[in-house]
Symmetry: C2
Subunit: 467 residues, 2 copies
């Protein structure tokens, strides 16, 4: 089988930078992932390697771990060679040392030797830097290796290592941007297939089938569970059993993750039938205006939180024109009234992970020591990216309007935001659903660049696809 890798020097260079950033300060332990079981141990989900492991060590197979000794410079990959049973059941692979040499690592050891390296470091009083584990099997292993309890494991997570890894991964190189463009291009083809297949009478899962078909036929997978729904107000619904009805819209939020594990993340909202209704058109253009305004603000030095708030204000202005909101738009956003319609954030970092590096902590990825992430304000607590943009960031822009009946009922009962929301009018939209439009951008020295092929997004262009 074929391993998908950059040149070995890419990985060696990345590790060199990491070592420089950590300084002479003990050992770095990076955990690869295991296979995850579905309904019994050997029936496993499609393997997904840890992204930081991929970034520094590239190898996309289960059962690996790696150590970088920042004092000696030593780099070791730990893994077990295949047995004849493995070969009979799952085929041949290069040996561990052959694979290691493909990513510029000269030293390999059996997997169970990791613990000796860790104990040696601990015994000699040297730090062991780990990233926050998100898989339970890695938590179990780390707790055993570090001789601590699962409950205390969080204390061993190295903020220094998190910051060093984020600092590198957050700036995408041209090699990475090329992979991201490939992934976005497949994502565009997935969206086109879904839009063209949409018609009244079929089930949402028939559209999900198209998305998977296009992704897999391009040697990719879905980077995150498809959101393809006629109830677009549910931000992350993964239920696909509804029948499409003329007059309603479909929201399709899908992205391909390619063989190198870089991903796209696109959303389009389109009519089940050939054309949008006038109400749909009106609110669609509110979202589109908000999006275009946000895109126009993308450039280094601007805080994404500012762009988010500006996009929110555009949404409020449009909703006010539509008679659903009222009062001063800036005041409404200040008060948080827009969160009746836009409960989440404008976008997030994108890379190997759809929410790039979310496992390392949104505070470290999307914010800075000077700009803390809100943790309790509805709306802002879901803004994953707030910090000043820098050239090399890759991110999503994805405003939306979501009409959530349960939220209307709760907040109307509390008379919440009554100065800004025309509840009488809003209640006539209860069954509207939701609209989101999302594209992916690279921050350049002077502004931004749309990643991948252009995917139709105006009303006319979308209706044209359905003609």
């Amino acid at each position: 089988m074929e391993l998908h890798l950059f040149d070995k020097q890419v990985y060696a260079d990345r590790r060199q930078v990491l070592k420089q950033n950590i300084g002479h300060d003990g050992i770095i332990l990076l955990m690869g992932n295991e296979d995850s079981s579905m309904n019994y141990k050997d029936n496993t989900y499609l393997f997904r390697q840890d992204s930081s492991f991929l970034y520094y060590f590239g190898l996309d197979t289960h059962g690996l771990a790696a150590i970088i000794d920042t004092d000696t410079g030593e780099e070791v990959i730990f893994g077990n060679e295949l047995t004849i049973d493995d070969i009979v059941w799952t085929g041949t692979l290069p040996t561990i040392s052959e694979m290691a040499s493909m990513v510029g690592v000269g030293e390999t050891k059996p997997y169970d030797q990791v613990i000796h390296f860790i104990h040696k470091a601990i015994t000699s009083g040297r730090p062991v830097h780990i990233l926050p584990p998100y898989r339970p099997e890695n938590k179990i292993k780390l707790a055993a290796w570090l001789n601590t309890s699962l409950a205390d494991l969080a204390k061993y997570v190295s903020v220094k290592l998190i910051k060093a890894v984020v600092g590198q991964r957050v700036i995408k190189t041209s090699l990475e941007v090329a992979e991201l463009e490939k992934a976005v291009n497949v994502s565009v083809d997935m969206e086109l297939a879904v839009i063209k297949h949409t018609r009244a009478g079929i089930k949402e899962y028939e559209l999900v089938a198209k998305a998977h078909e296009v992704a897999i036929a391009n040697n990719a997978r879905l980077g995150y569970p498809a959101i393809i729904t006629t109830y677009g107000q549910t931000l992350h619904t993964h239920y696909y059993g509804n029948t499409l009805q003329e007059g309603r819209m479909v929201l399709s939020d899908i992205g391909a993750e390619n063989a190198m594990h870089y991903g796209g993340d696109l959303t389009r909202t389109f009519p089940v039938g050939k054309s949008f209704t006038s109400r749909q058109k009106e609110l669609y253009n509110v979202v589109l205006d908000s999006m275009d305004h946000a895109i126009s603000m993308l450039k280094p030095g601007v805080r994404y939180k500012e762009i988010h708030l500006a996009a929110c204000q555009k949404l409020v202005e449009g909703l006010t024109d539509a008679g659903i909101m009222k009062g001063d738009a800036a005041d409404a956003v200040e008060a948080g009234a827009h969160t009746m319609f836009f409960q989440c954030g404008l976008g997030h970092m994108l890379g190997m992970d759809t929410h790039d590096m979310e496992d390392l902590g949104e505070q470290y990825v999307g914010y800075t020591d000077a700009l803390k992430k809100e943790t309790s304000i509805f709306g802002l607590k879901s803004l994953r990216l707030g910090r000043e943009l820098e050239a090399g960031f890759v991110l999503t822009v994805e405003p939306g309007i979501y009409i959530i009946p349960e939220l209307i009922d709760r907040w109307q009962a509390e008379n919440k935001y009554a100065d800004f929301i025309n509840y009488d009018v809003l209640n006539t939209y209860r069954d509207f659903g939701g609209i989101r439009i999302e594209d992916n951008f690279l921050i350049t020295d002077t502004g931004s660049k749309l990643l991948g092929k252009y995917l139709p997004k105006t009303l006319e262009e979308i209706e044209g696809l359905k003609g």
Copy 2:
């Protein structure tokens, strides 16, 4: 959203039988599954509920557990109600108590109350029966609840509960057979789509894409990772990057798991081009003869191990006719020489799990106290089913011939089975690949019944599909 359930009485009856079989003997704890993370906590694989939980409690949502008190008859489902954040992000669901009542359970509690029920039982000296956990997050929870270490958890697994659960689940009711037939029918459509799409020059993953498309468009999923390969000798390969070449075959082992989580498990082997070569035809018919012979033996009272060995002998006879093997066929099977070509078992139980109940232990599912599973004999150690067949069993029949160059090299170097294998001839088949043919059967009172629609399996029928 819609929950896929049998009538509530079905679940109540199943639990009643379980209680009777356990007697007054403490509490039974059944763990539901959690979402499994891919590359960060909130990016999850498609949820798969535990099959025994589905069998007794039906509910196909994450974050549930259930207790059956065999002394008092009390049944409790533990789970947490949705918050408004859950509703905004993932939509509405019935409440826990609404869901519980759909499966005939009157009592529900918040999830963190499980531990109190367990501690109460332990304190009063009553047993807590658990099944073997296969998911690491459930291991972590169970160890905490039972106040033991992960290493000692296995001691708490209840063989009595395993045997009671297997005893019920192994006999499929007509309701279950109907679901299995639906799943097999979708699996047949998947195979037909894959076969018809196969042509020289495309990649294996383009066929995988078709399998997923058909499954998902039928509100199903793949019950296990697709094996679609032009290197069919690798029994469970999940690499799909090879280009299909005229003259080679494709082995496609795929199965749909439907909305009720019953699954099919089919395999066909077919030419990349329009027709098989004469060598392929010869060995294909060896496998088909072995399969037909095995099917003719399916009936209550016959040990599946006997059928396996009879099928092996048929394979050896055919391989002898082809000049690849030699000597007495029965002696060859007795010696194990057939395992050069057929390294695995003839089949396995099929139900909600592809290898049904494999999490409960193959010894308990496929064998009996009187008939122990072999653990070290190559070939037999991979025979998942050996016991006497009973009416109501559902199983696969899947003989094959697999030409594994690495195995030839190892065994020829050892002169292994030299009395039975013509290594000179065999080496001319090194690049042959593998052939497997697999269908699913219900054991009836008098014999067996093919599950689902007939999927072409003779040479002529297969070539007819490619015409």
